[in-house]
């Protein structure tokens, strides 16, 4: 499993909610899906640690849980940051150097595309064409669109969200 760099920061409160959830569904047939869905609502994602708690408390083997988590598109093993960054790699942006932008963002934050910073503040994704080709290259940070940027602009933009 892709082990996230973000250390698991689950609180005792979250764990208590998870245990309560597991107790509620444990006796029912087909309890795993509702438990995973509820767990993802509590934690925002389903890392190894959460899967382990579920396994320990239900007796369902880890490999079974992992198999289910990785099958469904809605379940994620890596957290999204509080601030999500999306760098467009569509053709127009790519030709205008968005690959270099992505690299710079990865450098600045110390993580790769698809990952989240250790403090849970930022996560990076690439996307394919947000339809703002006139502003190429485009990067979306926290929902705001930044266009016509160069790698040198990246540190300043990120500083606004730190």
């Amino acid at each position: 499993m892709k082990v996230s760099n973000v250390p698991f920061q689950g609180t005792a409160e979250q764990e208590a909610k998870l245990i309560e959830l597991i107790e509620k569904y444990k006796g029912q047939k087909g309890c795993l899906m509702p438990i995973l869905q509820g767990a993802q609502n509590i934690y925002g994602y389903l890392p190894y640690e959460v899967q382990k708690i579920i396994s320990d408390n239900t007796g369902i083997p880890m490999e079974k849980i992992y198999g289910v988590v990785t099958f469904y598109a809605q379940f994620t093993t890596s957290p999204k940051g509080k601030c999500e960054i999306s760098v467009c790699l569509g053709t127009a942006c790519y030709v205008k150097g968005s690959a270099a932008i992505l690299e710079k963002v990865e450098q600045e934050l110390g993580i790769k595309e698809g990952e989240c910073t250790d403090d849970g503040a930022f996560s990076i994704e690439s996307c394919r064409c947000v339809g703002a080709c006139g502003l190429a290259p485009v990067m979306i940070v926290g929902g705001e669109v930044y266009g016509k940027i160069t790698p040198d602009d990246v540190p300043g933009i990120l500083a606004k969200y730190r």
Partner: protein, 623 residues
């Protein structure tokens, strides 16, 4: 806990007032403001709109004379948010929250509807006709949607006022389980999820050994076809019809437990179901001893998690069991060995929505509409290049032309109808040559198409059929569960060939390869997803072969869609040399002096289209 007598009393009390919304002529005690609270209109702030109406009612001290009622989908989503006022049956369109004031002052208080806001339809000649005169309003037959858009889905009393829960009462008190199944068989109701299997037969297969084995009744509310929202609207607008039908099914086959598997992407539908289930239990029409009888039946919700394949029967059941959503070979069929290895029936939402009325009114009533082989109606979700995008219900056998041109208002912007895509990623496309084909199961399958679940996407002359096939195949490739080789690998190979063709690198042998692969994948895939994935490709090759050939032999996309085959050109006569295009071009592909005609270097051009968007003189065209 209610008895049948209690239900009848509620119906009598509320019935007359609800009847006003259905053309009844009782004297209205109040004014009813119905606001669509389906997902579409809610996203367009119909919630805020209703709050504004409520505030206005409070401020004017008229809360006992006005009722503001959230409803399910009214149908004409293109004109949403929709508001309907009774008495008077006045339809308003595109109602934003700030429009509430004028409607309140001029209509609710003043008595005169606001002419500017009234719903209207534009004819082909460019005139406006009142909505009440339109085909959309007059030509539908709303059976599955009979309550949708008219009642508050969060108020069980309104459902009861519409004969709600009378059907389960009749079944328990006046019919044997076998008689219920016989009515379903006689009605000739066919599954509305796409396959059209006779519902009565399905129940019959699961009906053996009643009371001796655990059995299950499931509802397929996964509705994964892109462009389909029939089931969502029924769940949001009339959830009790599904709940009641499931308990009828449970009574018929001898099951006490039901599951509704609803996709997680439908949060409003989930909320409405949870409310409806709670209210049904409180009234004793769900749970132990339904309506005081010894029949128990309860329903649990199970949410999907983003897997299209879980709309397939066996995958859905294994997902409920807590597994990866991978289908199983059949036989054994679920009626014999399904959920948790027990006899199970799975029906679609729209199928269930039809059932309570069939029990109350009888099989002959249901058979009085529809065509020879396909009785009843079909709900279609109209989308794509069509004026009246939204939800419609017509008798089976209505022609495609009638649905698209009359009810749907035709193709906008003067464009020509090219094809109607039905059946989602499993379906085919009905070309213009078959515009007058009746929409029923047999007619459509006779031309290699299918009814599908009801998604109907209209395509016009600007849509490329190769691109459409590629779009659907891309979808099925990413949604394939991966269990069987023909689907996992075969569809990917087909997609690669389509990509080659759309990039101008295809050969005529590729067409043969596509057809070969398609045959193999259809014959050998484990489940319906793989078996039908090649359908959009086969249908488009069948009806639009010349488009494929143009892509291959001429490296040309006739519809002007496939980017690699396009070239953008500046018309020197129209170009003013303003340099706007050159300055915005991300690839630096445009050159020219100020005030002289500019030129695009097609080798550098990446076909993003920014130049064409920016040109104020319409001097740039693509072909």
């Amino acid at each position: 806990m209610k008895t049948i007598q209690d239900l009848i009393e509620i119906k009598n009390q509320k019935g007359a007032q609800i009847g006003i919304r259905f053309g009844g002529d009782a004297e209205a005690e109040k004014t009813y403001i119905l606001c669509c609270a389906g997902t579409g209109c809610t996203s367009s702030h119909s919630g805020d709109l209703m709050d504004n109406f409520r505030k206005l009612a409070e401020e004017s001290g008229m809360t006992d004379k006005i009722e503001i009622i959230p409803t399910g989908c009214q149908g004409l989503c293109a004109k949403g948010p929709v508001v309907v006022v009774y008495p008077g049956n006045v339809h308003y369109q595109l109602v934003t929250p700030d429009m509430a004031q004028r409607i309140w002052d001029e209509h609710i208080v003043g008595g005169t509807p606001v002419a500017d806001f009234l719903m209207k339809e534009e004819t082909a000649e460019g005139e406006d006709i009142p909505f009440e005169e339109s085909s959309f309003y007059n030509d539908q037959l709303r059976l599955a949607l009979r309550n949708c858009g008219k009642i508050d889905p969060e108020n069980i009393d309104e459902y009861i006022a519409r004969e709600g829960y009378q059907a389960i009462g009749k079944a328990i008190n006046e019919m044997t389980p076998d008689e219920v199944i016989q009515v379903m068989i006689d009605s000739e109701l066919r599954g509305r999820g796409g396959a059209g299997f006779p519902t009565g037969k399905k129940w019959l297969f699961a009906s053996g050994n009643r009371g001796e084995v655990q059995k299950y009744v499931c509802c397929n509310a996964d509705e994964g076809d892109p462009g389909a929202f029939m089931d969502r609207s029924i769940l949001e607008g009339d959830p009790h019809s599904v709940i009641e039908a499931m308990s009828i099914a449970g009574y018929a086959i001898g099951a006490n437990q039901g599951y509704i598997y609803v996709r997680a992407e439908y949060p409003i539908a989930i909320e409405r179901l949870e409310i409806a289930l709670k209210q049904a239990r409180e009234y004793g029409v769900l749970g132990k001893n339904i309506l005081g009888s010894d029949f128990d039946f309860d329903i649990d919700l199970r949410l999907g998690a983003g897997a299209f394949v879980c709309g397939e029967e066996t995958a859905l059941m294994t997902s409920i069991e807590g597994n990866r959503g991978e289908p199983h070979p059949r036989p054994p069929f679920p009626a014999v060995k399904g959920l948790f290895q027990s006899p199970t029936i799975l029906n679609n939402v729209e199928t269930y929505a039809n059932i309570p009325q069939i029990i109350i009114k009888g099989a002959d009533w249901f058979k009085s509409s529809g065509s020879e082989t396909s009785k009843g109606t079909k709900v279609f979700a109209l989308g794509g290049k069509i004026n009246n995008t939204g939800l419609v219900e017509v008798p089976m056998g209505a022609t495609l032309r009638h649905v698209v041109e009359d009810i749907g208002g035709g193709v906008p912007n003067g464009k020509k109808f090219k094809a109607a895509q039905t059946g989602g990623p499993s379906g085919g496309c009905i070309p213009a040559d078959y515009y007058d084909i009746p929409m029923d199961y047999e007619s459509l399958s006779s031309i290699g198409c299918m009814m599908g679940s009801g998604g109907l996407i209209v395509l016009d002359e600007d849509d490329c059929m190769v691109d459409i096939a590629k779009f659907f195949l891309g979808f099925t490739v990413s949604e394939s569960c991966g269990k069987c080789t023909p689907c996992r690998i075969g569809t990917k190979r087909m997609l690669e060939i389509l990509e080659k063709i759309s990039e101008g690198k295809g050969t005529m042998e590729d067409l043969d390869k596509l057809e070969d692969l398609a045959k193999y994948i259809k014959a050998n895939s484990l489940c319906g997803l793989g078996q039908t994935a090649p359908n959009p490709v086969l249908a488009t090759i069948n009806f639009f072969r010349d488009e494929y050939i143009a892509h291959i032999k001429e490296k040309r996309c006739p519809a002007g869609v496939c980017k690699e085959l396009l070239s953008f050109t500046i018309d020197a006569d129209k170009c003013k040399g303003c340099t706007l295009c050159a300055r915005n071009c991300p690839a630096g592909a445009i050159s020219g002096e100020v005030r002289s005609a500019h030129v695009i270097d097609n080798d550098k051009c990446i076909k993003c289209g920014v130049c064409m968007e920016n040109c104020k003189f319409g001097a740039i065209y693509k072909k």
